[in-house]
Each structure stands twice: as C-alpha cells, then as structure tokens.
C-alpha cells in the first residue's frame, strides 16, 4: 500500500479524525480535489482476510470498546449501562459492520419543525439544508456506494428472510415493500466483487461486496499520493491559537507516545459520541465550555433512531441466516401521520442475526422456555428491525463523565437519554405492526426484542442557520471557528426515519467541495 508521510510540523495539511463513513469519504474527496490529508484513526488497519464469519470473534475484533456510561430513562441505560452505543474502531469505522441499507431523507422530514409543529418537550428544528440542495450529493453518494435500485444497479436476489417479510407485509396491508437500497454490489462493480450472500455483513464483508470506506475511499485517497493514514492514533485534544483558529491535534499513537500534528484545518468524524467528546475535552481558557461550544449545543439533542426488533416463530423452516443481514424495508410507516399517536415515522426492515447475537442481546434478561423455545427453533425464525425517528431533546446529551477516565486520562463520555412520550408511542406501534406482519406470514408466536445499544448516533453538533441555534453552519463548519469542521452524523438536526449513512456521505461530499472552494 502506498504510504505518504507528512511532517508533524507541516501546517498546510488537513487533519481528518476518523476514517468511517464521514471521515473516510471527506478525506478521499479532499485528496481528489488536491488537498493533503492526515487521517487519525484510533482503530487498527485490517483487511478482508482478517474478517471472520463469527459473531463473537468479530465483535471483539471490530467494536469500539472504550469505556462509556449511560443514564436516563431509556431502556439501554438499564440493560447495557457500560455499552450504550454500538460502533466500530478500525480503519473504515462502523462501515465495516453496517447493514448497508441506504436512503434519502424524505423532504418533509428535513422540515420537521414546520411539518410536525411545536411538540412539547422536544427541540425540533428544520435542517438548514433542503432536499433540493442535498439531491445532487445523494445522487453522487448512491453512485459512489453502489446503492441497488439507483443508477441502474439491479436489486439483490430475494432471501428466505425477505420472502417471509414481503409476504407478511403485503398480507398485513402494506404496499411499499422492497428489497432495495443496499450499498452492496448485486454484480461486480467499481473493482469490487458481487455479493455471495455469506450473511455476515455485520462481521466485515470478506468479499468486499458491501460498501465500506476500508476498501473504497481509503485506497482511493492513498492512490492520490496525498493521504497519510495513521491507524492506532487517537486524537486527544484540538489546539487553537490566540485568534481562535485551530492549529492542530494532539494524539496518542499505538505505542502510547503523544504527538502534535499541525494543521490548516481539522475535521472531526469520530461518530456522534466521540466527536462532541473531543470538542468538550478540548476546552481552553478561551473556549471554557469546549471548542465550538459558545452556544452550548455541543453534545445536546443526541438522537439515535429508535430501534427494536420482533422475531416470529414459524411452523415451516425459514433459515433467515441464508443471505444478507438486512433484507429490505417496508416504507409505509415512514410517512407523516400523527393520527397514529406520534409524529415522525419508521421503517420496518427484514433482519437476521446468528444464534450468538440472538442469545446475547435480543432479550438480555431472557430465560426459561419462553426464551429457549425461540432459540432452539432458530431455523424457523424470521426477524424484523425498527428504524424510527426519535425526537431531539435538549437534555438528551453526551457529556464528560465527572469522575471516570479512559486510558489516556481523559473523561469518558456519558450518554443521557430520557425517552419522549412520542418515542415510546412509536416503539409500541412498531411492536404491534411487526407482530401483525409476522403473523400474516404464518408466525405462530412472536418475541419482542429489546432496544439495543444505538448503532446510529446523531445530533450532538447540530447544523443551524443561525450561530446561536447550533454548532455548525449548513456545511459543517463550526460557527465559532472557521477552520474547524464536523463531518459525521453529529450534524443531523433531526434523526428521521431513514438509516443515516448515505446522508452522512452526501454531507461529507458537499463539505469537501465547500472546503476547497472557500478555504482553497
């Protein structure tokens, strides 16, 4: 692999923190546009050959395990207080383990405040960027990621799990049902293989058929000769000068030594928990509340998409594990329809996991026949996942833990979430509808899966038109510091019903263009 090295005191480089969906794409796009980039990535550099079709092994290999804590009324604070979010720590970030369902956000969701009106107890806002402005970047993202059902890319073949899901969905009265929008190659494309249906998308795709920055954007950036990737390097603190412009990043290398990389600009894409944490941990005399936090928004309005699952037990065999992790979606419930008792919407998605994950996390307190009868009929199960819009609330936030520290001596992040009544109502609705779909397909029994540690993290550095309403402008540029950028899901003012990653990529592409055109 071509390795380019820039000097620590080279203050002309852009430093990108994180190499996942946001950081990986931003870095490669900046390189393509002629910028020189240093990418600090806390995790190791792996290859497809390192991945294994083994849920427990991969979990240890790929997961961000650094200490975190949780508080508040959300179910995860009780079931998984030390592991409230599920993200990855490796070159490629969470795109190593994502399910690859890729969407555009519906136009009305980008104006949530206008559409839903005032919702007591929530801090709804409209996005400072419209659907029309995002459209060309979504289009680019779909091409770059190879999203099925776009750009003439055929859909993936139907799987067992999808067949059951589709049949149940239609019998339950749904019309908008499809196995589409996978950022997974249905045929070889872009120098990458087609999908062989291993069914271990969550464990790293050994064929490289599923889009991950690890083997797309990272090598693209490397090929420019302007990319210096530093795996095993954790950003600890962003420094600034007397004029309030950032000057570089203090980081710890894999061997524990600390270094300071100077920079012309810094872009933070550590996923929406580590990103605000780093800004808060970078507090200084001039910015006592943390960088870019004069308005007090850093870490606030954390959203995560409501998740839950339901598992149907069938008389006939299903073998849900034969093929892709996420089979497809029912779109009907993603509409705006407050008559259901909640604003916002959700997607129902065909999902499968193996026995290890099924036993470990779906019912964390599960025991007895009630539980074991589902596990022992594993090959007769079919699963449905919920991806819903949770409401932004100002006190749902990432803060620095008052006492607990990580290995570098820095405060760990605490995630506090008190669920809004709207969230609870939407989840109950999902459980009812998912059960209806499964029973319509013939399930004789249905088990509700608990909400899991959040795999979609958003909102903690929200974009806003006005400086007092958020952390960055509509391009992810900090209102307070012109050469500091946020480049991940932290930017999302609201979480929407759609899985976030395609929009993270679109925003990164748009940001790269903005950086090059405004900062040179």
């Amino acid at each position: 692999m071509a390795t380019t090295r820039f000097e620590l005191n080279d203050d002309s480089v852009a430093v990108v923190i994180g190499s996942g969906a946001g950081g990986g794409v931003l870095a490669s796009e900046l390189c393509r546009l002629g910028k020189r980039v240093v990418c600090l990535e806390a995790g190791p550099s792996l290859t497809m050959a390192d991945f294994r079709n083994d849920e427990f092994f991969s979990f240890q290999q790929l997961t961000w395990m650094d200490k975190r804590s949780a508080s508040g009324s959300w179910p995860v604070a009780r079931s998984s207080p030390g592991f409230p979010a599920y993200t990855s720590k490796a070159v490629g970030g969470t795109t190593n383990i994502w399910g690859a369902l890729s969407f555009r956000i519906q136009p009305h969701e980008l104006v949530a405040r206008e559409t839903y009106g005032e919702v007591a107890g929530a801090d709804l806002v409209d996005w400072p960027v419209s659907s029309d402005e995002l459209a060309p970047y979504w289009l680019q993202a779909e091409d770059r990621m190879g999203v099925t059902g776009t750009h003439g890319i055929p859909r993936l073949p139907v799987t067992n799990n999808y067949k059951v899901f589709d049949y149940g969905a239609r019998r339950a009265g749904y019309a908008r049902v499809a196995n589409d929008r996978h950022a997974i190659n249905s045929r070889s494309r872009d120098g990458r293989s087609h999908c062989y249906q291993l069914g271990f998308c969550g464990q790293g795709c050994k064929f490289g058929a599923k889009w991950s920055t690890l083997y797309t954007d990272i090598p693209m950036a490397e090929a420019t000769g302007r990319f210096d990737l530093r795996p095993g390097c954790t950003a600890l603190r962003i420094e600034h000068d007397g004029k309030g412009r950032v000057t570089g990043v203090l980081y710890a290398a894999a061997d524990g030594t600390q270094h300071f990389q100077r920079a012309a600009l810094v872009a933070v894409a550590g996923n929406a928990i580590e990103t605000p944490r780093l800004l808060l941990n970078s507090a200084s005399a001039r910015f006592p509340q943390g960088l870019a936090n004069g308005s007090g928004w850093v870490g606030r309005c954390y959203t995560k998409n409501l998740n839950a699952s339901a598992w149907g037990l069938f008389e006939k065999p299903v073998h849900m594990n034969h093929g892709v992790t996420m089979g497809g979606s029912i779109y009907d419930e993603s509409r705006y329809d407050p008559a259901r008792g909640f604003v916002g919407g959700y997607l129902l998605q065909a999902v499968q996991v193996g026995i290890p994950f099924l036993a470990a996390v779906i019912k964390p307190d599960g025991w007895g026949r009630e539980f074991t009868r589902f596990v022992e009929h594993y090959d007769h199960l079919s699963g449905i996942w919920m991806n819903g819009e949770d409401l932004p609330c100002v006190n749902n936030r990432v803060t620095l833990h008052p006492t607990e520290k990580d290995v570098h001596g820095l405060p760990i992040p605490n995630i506090h979430v008190d669920e809004h009544a709207n969230d609870v109502a939407m989840r109950e609705h999902f459980y009812g509808r998912a059960e209806a779909v499964l029973r319509a397909a013939g399930a004789t029994d249905v088990m509700r899966g608990n909400p899991l540690p959040s795999s979609h993290n958003m909102g903690t550095c929200r974009m806003s038109a006005k400086p007092d309403g958020g952390v960055t402008n509509a391009f992810g540029q900090a209102h307070e510091i012109p050469n500091l950028f946020v480049s991940d899901g932290s930017l999302f003012p609201t979480s929407t019903a759609e899985n976030p990653t395609q929009t993270i990529v679109a925003l990164a592409l748009r940001q790269a263009e903005y950086i090059v055109s405004t900062l040179g």
């Binding site: 079709n53 799987t159 090959d379």
Partner: protein, 179 residues
C-alpha cells in the same frame, strides 16, 4: 491488529479464555454492588450443581447434556482461581438453594424455576447468563442442533446454493418502481 486464536475460536486456549472471561465478568459485576453480604460456606457448588441451574435457566430437551457441562465446568474453574468469583458464586448458590425451598438438588422443577425468577437481573443471573451465552450458545455443537450453520465462508456463501429454501410461500411480486 494481530488477533490470535485465543478468543472465540476454539482449541487449546479457549478454555483458558472462558475462565478469564468469567472472572472478569464477575469482577465487573461485583464492583457494581453485590459482595458485601457474602458469608463463607464450607461446601462449594460443584459443576453438576451449576449444570442443573443452567438446565433450569436454559432448558433444551434435544441438546446433549454434556454441552451444559462446558459453562458449568468453566464456572467451577473460575471459582477455584479467583476469590471474588468464588464469593459471588457461593453466595449465589446459597440464595438459590434457599429460594428453592432449602435444598436445590431435591427441589422440584417448578420450585427451581421460581427460585431463578427471584434472581433475574442480579449479578449472579447476569454472570450465569453471560457464561451460558458465550460458551453454550456460542458452541457450534449447539448450533447444529438448532439449525444454525455459522461460518459460510468455507462453502463460499449461499448465492446459487441454498439462498431461498422457503418453498412454502409464493415469490414476492415484482417490486413497484420508486419504493
């Protein structure tokens, strides 16, 4: 990162890994709340005792009983190696026996289930559950009985093989455009 074979993969190191896993889990759980009231006892529960607890918690009629021995042996080994784990397990065994009417081994299945219900969510429950999840539900011999094939890499994935074995439902209609 270099991953050695010690983790979830089998062979020599696997047992050692399980024991360390249990000790670490017990330590994490104990620091949260539990140990204070533990009284020393003379007789430590044996592997067979834990096995019958685990069979009550996770009953499966079709599974070879020896497969439950993997987690219960590992629990006993961990208790032998680590005082904190021993304390948690011995105190837990006592409270379970009491909740089952005084003596676990002579208690009815129903009494045992009632006893388990009293420990749901406690550190003991979490330790027993996590140990079982890892060593029993993570065991390919158990998967085989329940119809989970695990690793699909050796045969190259399900494409063109058994991707669709559901023959008891019609094929989905051709998808509408724009969904």
């Amino acid at each position: 990162m270099k991953q050695t074979d010690s983790a979830a993969t089998g062979n020599l190191d696997r047992r050692q890994f399980l024991v360390s896993f249990i000790i670490a889990t017990a330590a994490a759980l104990s620091s949260r709340s539990f140990l204070a009231a533990a009284e020393p006892v003379d007789t430590s529960p044996a592997s067979a005792d834990w096995q019958s607890v685990l069979e009550t918690m996770f009953p499966h009629d079709n599974v070879d009983r020896t497969l439950y021995g993997v987690p219960s042996d590992a629990l006993v080994s961990a208790a032998e190696k680590d005082a904190g784990t021993r304390q948690l397990l011995e105190a837990g065994w006592q409270s379970l026996s009491q909740a089952a009417g005084g003596d676990w081994s002579s208690a009815t299945g129903e009494a045992r289930s009632r006893a388990i219900a009293t420990i749901v969510g406690t550190p003991l429950f979490v330790l027993l559950r996590q140990t079982t999840v890892f060593t029993f539900y993570g065991n390919p011999k158990v998967w085989e009985v329940f119809g989970y094939e695990g690793d699909a890499w050796p045969f190259g994935g399900y494409l063109g093989k058994e991707l669709v074995t559901v023959d008891w439902l019609p094929d989905p209609p051709a998808p509408a455009e724009g969904t």
